[in-house]
């Protein structure tokens, strides 16, 4: 299971990026590990295990979209379809693949560089699990304002992480 512990963070982020809700993303990521275990015989030693896992996960997500009762696990039926088609065409979702520990480290670094009010917002939303509407009422803003502020913050963090990883060799 050590391998699962090492790979899980990156795979969960990857699956989520394909348009699944958080809980469903974890479920599919687990299933991908289970399928990988069951199909171990066809894994080609020396090839990229992470890429193989992501291929399995992509297949499982496409299955989610085909099953009517599972569509509620997507952030949006059409959105997930658009993401899947684009990913299929370009393979660009793999940009979020790779070594999860380095990315997690970069995320921690980037969180530390945020201005105080932005850190407070991330703190409330993710570390205290406060819904945007509640944050909005506390701050006298609208829920849309808060959601969009979080959207911009994630974009800032994404750019920071990308720069951080680019600065590191490999």
């Amino acid at each position: 299971m050590e391998q699962v512990r090492r790979e899980q963070a990156g795979l969960r982020a990857f699956v989520r990026s394909l348009g699944l809700r958080p809980d469903a993303a974890d479920d599919v990521a687990q299933e991908a590990f289970v399928v990988a275990f069951e199909k171990l015989a066809v894994f080609e030693r020396g090839t990229n295990f992470g890429a193989w896992l992501r291929t399995i996960a992509r297949f499982l997500v496409s299955k989610e979209r085909r099953r009517e009762e599972r569509r509620q696990r997507l952030i949006g039926d059409f959105v997930a379809g658009a993401l899947a088609d684009e990913t299929q065409a370009t393979g660009s979702a793999d940009a979020w693949a790779g070594e999860a520990p380095e990315r997690a480290d970069a995320l921690r670094h980037c969180l530390g560089t945020l201005p105080g009010h932005s850190r407070r917002l991330v703190q409330q939303r993710y570390f205290e699990n406060v819904p945007p509407a509640v944050i909005a009422s506390q701050q006298g803003r609208t829920a849309n304002d808060v959601r969009q502020a979080l959207f911009r913050l994630r974009a800032v963090l994404h750019d920071c992480i990308r720069r951080r990883l680019a600065e590191q060799p490999l």
Partner: protein, 475 residues
């Protein structure tokens, strides 16, 4: 992304989608924009991936995730050798990449890594100091859950296909989880239960602990309770002590107290839970999910009461009949006891005790139905001061066994005419009637009330034991 900035409407819709709060039109609006702009796809994927990474950073749960994977692997524990092969092969594939990276770059990275570590520790420390992490102590578990027994772990997603686990939160809340179980700990006061059965004892500091299910929420108001959620959206809750509140969308909140339970579904009004199976350990009652459904003797206990607001359940206590067992579901004491100087009847000892409602002793048209899952012997403990009801004389045979219930307070109406013992305590005597049911099925019982004499009888007690094979053969 296209050079044109995205519209405020699209931006708002994207933000809602990532937060899981999309409005009906958002899906189409965003999907159309994504198909027109591949860069927007990349931006949305980054948003979603960042969201996942932030959630993991807030509540690291790699151990639980790995445990959940292990639980889903068919016979994974038994196939340890296969797992070793899996780890070795995967490890070899990854090790080659890492080794290559380390060889060429480590000498350059060392000073940079030291500086990075200082920055990282500062950032991590800042967040950890302010983060109420969901640390769970795994107090006990069967080996097949993948949870590390005796360890404190930061958990978020909990899932196992078989077994049980006892988890203690830092708030003092103790959860006994029974498989198949899947849940997400949102924080130390909130559990999102996807599927599974759970006994919760919130302790003194866990007031307000909430179990969220598809069907609705159960909010503790200082109590112990059992709750079950099924994959198809069904839920049920039974209060063991104290009080809970059941909250559903489009329904007024429903308060339940000790001895009450309901089953409910999303957008459906709660319905009374007629019976629950309990076990008592160390004087503490918990819902009993240890026995497979097929192994139970009494499947259900149902009555014909339709009183508004009635949510009381019949408690079936597996093997619970013994000297000192609580006699009724709606009052403590009295307890079942042998007559003075007598031993507790061996024939009754260890039987499944059905705790009835003493309050229903005066309802003439009262009907009770036992759903028996296996051949059984049913014992009715009838107030010996009162006439035998017709249904009891017809379907049951009177035995030589006798019991008493008590102590009763002097103010209790059923003690009228009874002399207290020398210690001032008052007891009611019961005769024991017996009936064999050689095949599974329903057994109907009536009211203890006969109209034949003044005064109210005690409600009867019920004990059920398996019918021995030899007895079945004799039939």
């Amino acid at each position: 992304m296209n050079q044109d900035p995205i519209s405020p409407e699209l931006h708002a819709a994207l933000a809602r989608l990532v937060e899981g709060e999309a409005e009906p039109a958002d899906d189409t609006l965003v999907a159309t924009a994504l198909r027109a702009d591949p860069a927007l796809c990349a931006a949305l994927r980054s948003q979603l991936a960042l969201d996942a990474l932030l959630r993991q950073a807030a509540e690291p749960d790699a151990q639980a995730f790995a445990g959940a994977v292990a639980a889903r692997l068919p016979a994974a524990a038994a196939a340890a050798s296969q797992e070793d092969a899996f780890v070795q092969r995967v490890g070899a594939a990854l090790a080659s990449r890492r080794a290559l990276a380390k060889m060429s770059l480590w000498r350059w990275l060392r000073p940079l890594a030291a500086a990075t570590a200082v920055v990282m520790l500062t950032a991590v420390g800042w967040f950890r100091l302010q983060t109420p992490s969901v640390v769970v102590e795994v107090e006990g578990t069967s080996p097949n859950t993948g949870l590390p027994i005796g360890q404190r772990v930061a958990l978020r997603h909990i899932q196992f296909a078989q077994g049980t686990a006892r988890l203690r939160l830092e708030s003092g809340v103790v959860m006994d989880c029974t498989a198949p179980f899947e849940a997400r700990l949102e924080n130390h006061a909130r559990l999102r239960l996807v599927e599974g059965r759970l006994n919760v004892d919130v302790g003194e500091r866990g007031f307000g602990f909430t179990v969220v299910m598809v069907a609705g929420e159960v909010v503790d108001l200082g109590t112990a309770f059992g709750v079950e959620a099924t994959r198809d959206g069904g839920a049920s809750v039974a209060v063991l002590s104290g009080k809970v509140e059941v909250k559903q969308s489009h329904q007024a909140a429903l308060s339940l107290v000790e001895g009450e339970g309901v089953r409910f579904r999303r957008q459906q009004a709660p319905q009374r839970l007629q019976s629950v199976r309990l076990e008592e350990r160390g004087g503490i009652a918990r819902l009993d999910w240890s026995a497979p459904a097929g192994a139970a003797l009494v499947g259900d206990v149902m009555d014909n009461l339709t009183l508004p607001g009635l949510n009381r359940y019949y408690a079936i206590i597996s093997g619970g009949m013994r000297s000192g067992a609580t006699a009724f579901a709606d009052r403590v004491p009295p307890r079942w006891l042998p007559d003075p100087g007598e031993a507790f009847p061996a024939e009754l000892k260890g039987g499944d005790l059905v705790q009835t409602f003493h309050e229903q002793r005066q309802t003439p048209d009262f009907r009770l139905r036992l759903q028996l899952l296996r051949p059984a012997v049913i014992y009715v403990l009838h107030d010996s001061r009162h006439a035998t009801p017709e249904w009891l004389a017809r379907d049951f045979v009177k035995t030589q066994m006798r019991l008493r219930s008590g102590p009763w307070p002097k103010s209790a109406p059923i003690t009228v005419g009874l002399e207290p013992l020398s210690n001032g305590q008052i007891y009611v005597s019961y005769e024991v009637w017996r009936c064999e049911q050689p095949a599974p099925g329903a057994l109907a019982l009536g009211s203890p009330f006969t109209h034949r004499r003044s005064g109210l009888p005690s409600m009867y007690g019920l004990v059920v034991k398996p019918l021995e094979p030899s007895s079945v053969f004799k039939q």
